[in-house]
């Protein structure tokens, strides 16, 4: 099981879509840095998410990066969990390996 990190805005960069295309059932994704914009409800982004509902992929957002940007949950059709740096470390341990998309 892979933990994927994504650190770029999906409105500017393709790497979240690239990640979603490659992620497998049971994988985990954490959005960090500008990647946290992926947890907003922009129509542009939601279009590219059909895969997610099919695969059993858990979605996390790094809280300090999310709050710095003034964002709040409840804007997306998808379920994201906010996590702090400590939980981020645990997520790395729960996965077999990490793949970083940047």
């Amino acid at each position: 099981m892979i933990l994927h990190t994504v650190n770029k805005s999906p409105y500017a960069n393709q790497c979240l879509v690239d990640c979603l295309t490659t992620a497998a059932t049971g994988d985990t994704i954490i959005l960090i840095e500008d990647g946290v914009y992926g947890a907003t409800a922009g129509p542009l982004f939601d279009k590219s998410l059909p895969q997610l509902s099919e695969l059993d992929i858990k979605l996390y957002v790094l809280r300090p990066d999310f709050e710095a940007r003034g964002l709040h949950l409840g804007q997306s059709v998808l379920h994201f969990s906010l996590v702090d740096d400590h939980r981020f470390v645990e997520l790395v341990l729960e996965a077999d390996k990490v793949l970083s998309w940047y």
Binding site: T5, N7, K8, I32, E33, D34, L62, P64, D65, D85, H86, F88, V89, E90, V92, L93, K97, V98, S100, W101, Y102
Partner: protein
């Protein structure tokens, strides 16, 4: 568990180094070990003694340094990446006829072999890519 953290981004220019440093601190706070910090690509600027931020801002190189010092971490800066980006210890600076080096104490220059060794000997390896 033993972590290796690979840092590919410079401080200030992007968020990478801040995220990676917070992650390293969280690893330690949870009682895990850091096998190695490996600074590659633009990450080598984290080891520059010449980085000077405004006084009220977090000085990332010194924050790394404190972590390295307090927990006796191995902080390896890729030598090839470093020289190409203007980061050198005194020995390398002298070799290339520069007046003095700028590698912060606590960091060491070494080859990519240290990254491969870390990949083989850590329980987890995480890369923090450039955010710019």
């Amino acid at each position: 568990m033993k972590f290796t953290i690979v840092i590919l981004g410079a401080p200030y220019s992007g968020e990478t180094a801040d995220t990676a440093c917070r992650f390293a601190e969280a690893v330690i706070a949870q009682g895990h070990n850091i096998y190695r910090l490996f600074f590659y690509h633009d990450g080598v600027h984290n080891a520059s003694s010449l980085v000077t931020l405004p006084q009220d801002e977090i000085q990332l190189p010194q924050r790394w340094q404190q972590l390295i010092d307090q927990y006796h971490l191995e902080a390896v800066v890729c030598i090839a990446s470093a020289l190409r980006r203007g980061v050198a210890n005194d020995i390398e600076a002298r070799r290339f006829g520069k007046p003095c080096g700028n590698l912060l104490e606590g960091f060491e220059l070494a080859g990519i072999g240290e990254l491969l060794d870390a990949a083989a000997h850590s329980d987890r390896l995480i890369t923090f890519g450039p955010s710019s």
